[in-house]
Structures are given as structure tokens and as C-alpha cells.
């Protein structure tokens, strides 16, 4: 294939805060770097840049973005890095044998005009995360989106993708999105939190004790004040339960919810809106790492299946490193520091720095990471939806698998019919849940919890869907080797 003879010291997959920070360090030590990312511009989801040619004054000026933004400004479009933007890594295969590049990896990549393979001595995966979906009745209606999806339109496209918005979930991100919507001139009909106000306030008081993060918390407090001034109703202790509309979203229903996830449907209320943004946390995008053979472990509140790694962020596969959210969802500031430590780990593994130098270089990022992690853990605690909420909102006829249009009840009947099934992958084979174009990203979490609850299994036994190349669907006509020029 055309890319066969292209070899790099380091391939970085995903160029959000972690990938950017890692690239900077690797380049400072003179190793060659190729960066591959599905988006057209660097920054990841948190810093989703406007298209080339757009000029946006005061773009993402808030303090929340300060640290990753400074890394982006240093690295973006630097010409000592080989940028493969708009390209997707479909799979990673190990190189074995006695060739010089043995022990490294082959990356199978879909580029703009075809597919190719390139080789790297070490790979650093930082593909980030995506929103953890809640499968309530009506969640498949056009107009229901992830809160991050709405934010993507705002940050990058400078586009308000609807008229009257409701945000609902458990994550503080929805406050940020609501604020950005309001300042873009949209109407926000309500921001609905599953947590009670008392619980949120308690967590905040704890957070203020971690003084370094005071500025971030004050920023959030300012956002709340701004939303109140704009007359946006904030509602606590309530969950979205239904979305309705003829062909597209017209109204949503929310109802009080307890900390254990019991919903008081008798006190449900309806709000008219044409867009709903949902935000109940994030799932680590660990598919590529798993496809490459890296082992994972379950972390309910830090991204689901996250990749096992050592103190240098090397996964169970030699010379395959991970950074950012797939090493445990903890936000952009943590991602930057993880990217730095992982990059130093890469340098160490490739013999570019000595053991002692690696330890010295890693000291400051490690210290920062430890500090940020304490704050992230607190934020994660604060952002948790009520226990079992995912199951209490999912009615018998809610769509569990969007792609294959399979309802919860149908899936559970399959489980009843096949009492020997214990793994999610085996459940997929009998039910088709997870067999569509999203490759199970939007149903795996809910299906796994259903299976675990039905069979009284822990997540380790349920296990994730087997991740297989290509980890993103690719049309057959895009498979031929990429044409040069």
C-alpha cells in the first residue's frame, strides 16, 4: 500500500488537549510525529475550532478553557508535525519479527481519498470520549441531541441549531452550554438537573476547599448568575422522562427523581421546545485501544471501560500509550498533564531520554495531575446521575439500540430465551443490539447494565463488545489505497 514505507517515531491518535500536549513534548526531543484526527482542525471536542477561514473574536475566552487553549496555540498547524486531519484510524496491528521497526505498530488509516497503512515505533492514543446516552422514550426523535453536540455547533460552527432549548442531565457542562446558547441569542426554556440543589451545594463547599480550583468554580458561579439574570429557569432534582413530537421534537416531560433513581411520574411537567440537549456524563472512546489488544477495566463514573496503564501511561500492549479521557474521564486540564506524562513515557520507551531524565521531566506534570485529579474526582462525584436512573427512565418500549431499532423489552426477552448468555458480546449475537453503524457506542452502556442487572453479574463478566477493525464503519469504495497527490 502507498503508505507502507512511511514510518514515524510516534503516531498520536486524537489531537485534543492530551494529544497536543504530548506532541509538544515529543517534538521538543526531536522525534518524528504524525498526528491523526477525524476532525478537520486540532483541539478535540473541548476546543472544537471554527472552520478554516472563519474569524471569531474572543473565541472560548472563559477561564475553563485557558490551560488547553494555551497548548493549542503553541502547537496548532506547526509544520514540524505531519498532520493527517480528517483521517480516521480504522485499526492498529502489531509489527513482529526481526525488521528494524519490529515491536512497533501498523496503523490502518482512512484518509481523504482512500486507505493506507503507516508504521510507528510507538503509538499514543488520545481519542477522548463521547456522551453517555440515556435511553428514555423519545430519545431518538430528531431534535434530541447530546449537549456536547449543541455545543459543537456553537463553538465551531458559530451556529445556534434550534430555537427553544431545554438542557437536562447531571453534568455541569449543561450550565456552560446554556450560557453559551443564551449569549448566542437562543432561548433556553429550562436547565434541569437530576441532583437536588442541596447535594450540589454541598459538593461545591468541598470544592472550594481545593483552592487552586477556585477560579474555575467562580466561573461556574458567574454562569449561574448570568443564567438567572437572563431568566433561565434552573430546576433541581428532576429528570427528563419523555420526549414527544409528530416528526421532530415538540415537547419534553420531566419529573422529580430521588437519589436512588425512583421517578415520581405523578408530578411530571411538560415543557415545549424544539431542541433538547442531554448530558449524563461521558464514556471513554476505548474502542481503538481494545481493538489493539489493550486490557481495560470498568469505572462506572469515570468513563465506563477505561484502558489499563502503568505510571507512564503505557497500556498492556507494549509501545501503545494512552492519555486523556480513555485513561479515566477527568476533563481537559487532567488530559493535558496525562498527555505530558505519556509523552515522556514514549520518549523513555524509545530510548530518547534516560530513566532519570524521564523521572525528572515527569515530576511537575505528575504533581499537577495529582492535584487536578482530586478536583476531577470531586467534580465526578457532583456530576453523577442518580443510581439506576438509566434503567428507571428506560421503559419497556424505549429504543435501546438506535441503529437496529431494538427496544428494551425485546432485548430482555432475548436474554430470557438464552439463559446461558453472560457476556454483552454473546447478547449482541442473539439480539442484534450493537450491530449497526455506531458499532454499539450508543447502546453498549445501557445494554451492559441491563444484562448485569438481569443476571446479577459484575461488569467484568459482562465485558465490552469485542472491538474489531474497522473501529469506524468505512464504505467499500473508500478502501482502495489512497491515490497520491
Amino acid at each position: 500500500m502507498s503508505g507502507e514505507n512511511q514510518q514515524y517515531d510516534v503516531a498520536i491518535v486524537g489531537v485534543g488537549p492530551a494529544g497536543l500536549a504530548a506532541a509538544q513534548i515529543v517534538r521538543e526531543h526531536g522525534l518524528s510525529v504524525v498526528i491523526i484526527d477525524e476532525q478537520m482542525r486540532a483541539g478535540g471536542q473541548i476546543l472544537r475550532q471554527p472552520p478554516r477561514g472563519f474569524r471569531v473574536e474572543k473565541w472560548l475566552n472563559g477561564r475553563l478553557y485557558a490551560r488547553p487553549k494555551s497548548v493549542l496555540e503553541t502547537m496548532d498547524e506547526r509544520d514540524d508535525v505531519d498532520w493527517r486531519m480528517g483521517a480516521t484510524v480504522l485499526g492498529i496491528m502489531r509489527r513482529s519479527g526481526f525488521r528494524p521497526q519490529a515491536g512497533g505498530h501498523d496503523l490502518w488509516i482512512r484518509g481523504a481519498s482512500g486507505c493506507y497503512v503507516l508504521a510507528a515505533r510507538a503509538v499514543l492514543l488520545a481519542p477522548g470520549c463521547y456522551e453517555r446516552p440515556l435511553a428514555f422514550p423519545g430519545w431518538t426523535l430528531p431534535g434530541v441531541m447530546g449537549a456536547g453536540a449543541i455545543q459543537g455547533f456553537l463553538k465551531s460552527q458559530q451556529f445556534v441549531p434550534g430555537e427553544r432549548f431545554v438542557l437536562a442531565g447531571s453534568h455541569p457542562l449543561q450550565l456552560v452550554v446554556a450560557d453559551q446558547l443564551v449569549s448566542a441569542g437562543a432561548e433556553v426554556a429550562a436547565v434541569i438537573f437530576t441532583q437536588r440543589l442541596g447535594r450540589v451545594a454541598l459538593a461545591w463547599r468541598h470544592a472550594l476547599a481545593v483552592l487552586q480550583h477556585g477560579p474555575q468554580l467562580f466561573e461556574t458561579a458567574r454562569i449561574v448568575a448570568r443564567l438567572r439574570r437572563a431568566g433561565v429557569p434552573l430546576c433541581f432534582g428532576s429528570t427528563i422522562v419523555e420526549a414527544h413530537g409528530e416528526r421532530v421534537l415538540e415537547r419534553v416531560v420531566h419529573a422529580p427523581v430521588s437519589a436512588s433513581g425512583e421517578i415520581d411520574r405523578a408530578r411530571a411537567r411538560t415543557i415545549e421546545c424544539d431542541r433538547l440537549g442531554v448530558c449524563h456524563g461521558f464514556l471513554a472512546s476505548s474502542e481503538l485501544a481494545r481493538q489493539a489488544g489493550a486490557s481495560v477495566h470498568w469505572r462506572e463514573h469515570e468513563g465506563g471501560w477505561v484502558v489499563d496503564h502503568d505510571r507512564w501511561f503505557e497500556s498492556s500492549v507494549a509501545k501503545l500509550f494512552v492519555a486523556g479521557e480513555i485513561a479515566g474521564v477527568a476533563g481537559a486540564d487532567a488530559a493535558v498533564e496525562k498527555g505530558r506524562v505519556a509523552a515522556i513515557g514514549v520518549l523513555r520507551a524509545l530510548g530518547a531520554v534516560s530513566e532519570g531524565a524521564a523521572e525528572r521531566l515527569a515530576r511537575i506534570p505528575r504533581r499537577r495531575l495529582a492535584r487536578i485529579s482530586r478536583f476531577a474526582a470531586m467534580l465526578s462525584e457532583l456530576s453523577r446521575p442518580p443510581e439506576r436512573l438509566a434503567q428507571t427512565v428506560m421503559t419497556e418500549d424505549s429504543i435501546l439500540c438506535r441503529c437496529e431499532s431494538i427496544q428494551r423489552g425485546t432485548f430482555e426477552r432475548f436474554l430470557q430465551e438464552h439463559p446461558h448468555i453472560r457476556s454483552l458480546d454473546a447478547a449482541k449475537l442473539v439480539s442484534r443490539v450493537g450491530m449497526g453503524l455506531c458499532q454499539g457506542r450508543l447502546c453498549a452502556d445501557n445494554a451492559a447494565h441491563l444484562l448485569a442487572a438481569t443476571r446479577k453479574l459484575d461488569m467484568k463478566e459482562v465485558a465490552p463488545f469485542r472491538a474489531q477493525a474497522p473501529v469506524k464503519p468505512v464504505p467499500l469504495e473508500a478502501l482502495p489505497p489512497e491515490r497520491c497527490g
Binding site: D106, V117, H420, L429, R432, A469, P473
Partner: protein, 396 residues
Amino acid sequence: MNRFDVVVLGGGLVGCAAAHYLSRSGARVLLVERSDLNREASGRNAGSLHFQLEYRLIRYGEALAAQFAQIIPLSLVAIEDWLKLEAELEAQLEVEMGGGLIVAEGPGDLEMLEKRQVLQERWGLDTKLLSANEVRRLAPYLTDTVIAASYCAKEGHANPRLVAPAFARSAARHGCEIRCGTRVTSLERDGSEWCVGIESGDRKEGISAGAVLNAAGAWAGEIAAMAHLHLPIYAIPLIMNVLERREPLIPHLVQHASKRLTLKQLAVGNVLIGGGWPGRFVRQGHAPDLWRAEPVVEHITENLLLASRLVPAIGSLHLLRTWTGITGVTADQMPLLGEVPEAPGFYVAAGGAAFTHGPTYARLISELILNGRTSVPIDLYSPARFSHVNNFMAAV
């Protein structure tokens, strides 16, 4: 010690089907599976019901092809078995026997089809050689480089996801005990009884059995080794690809005369593409890990480009997933089906085309275990033909 009439090792298609036939006849059966049912080749193969001689059987010269053609009598039985299977199991298996085509694109291909035709006629398989125009009428979705095809009206496909689980459900209804997540740790013989050591998590147990059926597919050799026996079966990792759904287009099983290809469209609309392109075992230190394989990018690409060249309409469809199913091939490509002469009471059913022929293997081996004879002769496939490799083994 818990006693069963038969312990079946392996929860794939053959094991589940044998458990069904045995327990339906009143035998007390234990089915032991190391992970989940239908997890390996049985659930991950192409689901082809191919009765014509496959490319892998025809490519090694005429003498060997003539020898491999001895599988056709078993295919004729399998055709009848598949026609009855959904009714017998009262289950939807997506059995579609709408015909199968082996297509030729050049004179060399055509010559191979003609030789196939002679062998298939000799053994009584009803197939027909179609001209380019006849192919066009029957299969307008094929590209116009196809100049001829060999057609078998009984070929088709079934859904591998559904078949073994349906057998397992029926077996369970007939009282079969199924233990998943359970490994075999030892096999010992005491007179006419077998003692099977099994282990599940921390729990260890010895099971007494009148007979043991080795239905461990690619790993049947590992199981046999526990009884100090050789079975010449080798694990091979084969690549399969599935495309997203589309409207009905391809009612046939499509194969190629001289290239590795099987192509079919499932009832729900997905297109399944394989044909024997190998993946690669992942290495664990120096040795390959025979339980874990990864695909080879060049093979996926060639397989799919061949498919989309033959059926241009699938070019815009997304490849959803590829996987590498680990199956077993015997030293002479024929199945291992029968009692191992060196170890009375130790039976094997593995190798060959174990999806197409799987239900039939299971039915016949169950007859052999229960009655000591079969309704259809299976001597040709007996492990007795490899007795020479066990001549110097001290079987238990």
C-alpha cells in the same frame, strides 16, 4: 461423583446440536463450554450452506480434488437436514436455500467449473453450468465480467448467530445440563467409564461419563491431548466482513471459481463477505496465541474489493465490522467424525465444513454413541484414518 451418559466438550454448533440429539433420545447429557455458547467459529463463520466443492478443495490438483469429492454424500444428507431444521427446532434460523452460484471470469475459471461439474455429477449432486446470459438473467446484480457460473439450487445460507443457540435451547428443554465458563482440566478412563475434570472459577469437580464427545472445533486437538491422543486438526483464523443493511439485492450464495470469496445477503439486509482470507494469530512471547487472532488489512481490502467488483451495487455500503473467526482444518481437509479407536468411548466431531455439515455431524455421531451404528455410513470420515499418529501414544 456426578454421572452423565455423555459429556459433550464444546458449546459450538456441533456440541449444541449433539447435546440436542442425545438428550432428545433420553440420554443424560452435560455440555461443557469454556466461555459462552456459540462464541467461536460456530457463531462467527460465514453461514454458507455450500454443497458444491469449495475452492479450497479444488485448488490442489485433480487427484486430491477427486478424493475430497467423497464429502458430497455427506452434503446430500446435510441438504435434507437443513430443510427440516427450523421445523424440528421450532426456531427461526434464517435458513434460505435460494440457490448458489460459483462464478467464472476467464477461461481458466471455466475449466475449473467444468472439472467440478464432472466430480459433482459422479457423486450425485445436482448442479448446472450456466452461460453468461443465463447468469445475467438469474443474477442481474453481478458484473458483466462473469462469463459462466455453476449453479446448485439447494445452496444458500443460514444465520450462524441463531443456529447453535436454538440447538442449545432445545437441548436444555430435553434436560441437558449446560455449563458455560467451565474448562476441562483432565480426561481419564477407568474401564468403560470416563472421568472428566472440570473447573469453573474456583470450583473444581470430577464428572463420571459413559462417553465423551470432543466437539471443541479448532481446539479438538488440545482436548484429545488430555487423553494422550493426537488429532491432526489445526486452528486457522479466517476473516469475515459484514456490511450495513440495504434493500434485498442478492438472493443467492455467491462464490468465485478461482478466488477466495463467499458473498450473501442476510434476511435483515446485511451483506456478509468472506471466503477464507486468513487473519493472523496474535503472538504471546514466541508462540502464537491460538485463541486470539487479528485481521490482516491487505486481506480485508482484497476480499472486499473483489466482492465490490463482482457486485458493484455494494460499493457505497459501509463495512461495519470485520472479525477473525478461529476454525479448525484437519490434515486432509476431511472431517473427523467417529470414535477414536485407541480410546473406546471417546468420540470426535470436528473439522471439515462444520457449519454446513454441523447438524449432520451431530445427528450421526449421536446415533453412533447411542446405538453403535449410524443411518448413513461415516467410515470415510473416521479418526481411524489417523491411527498411525496414535500408534506410539499411550492413550488413557
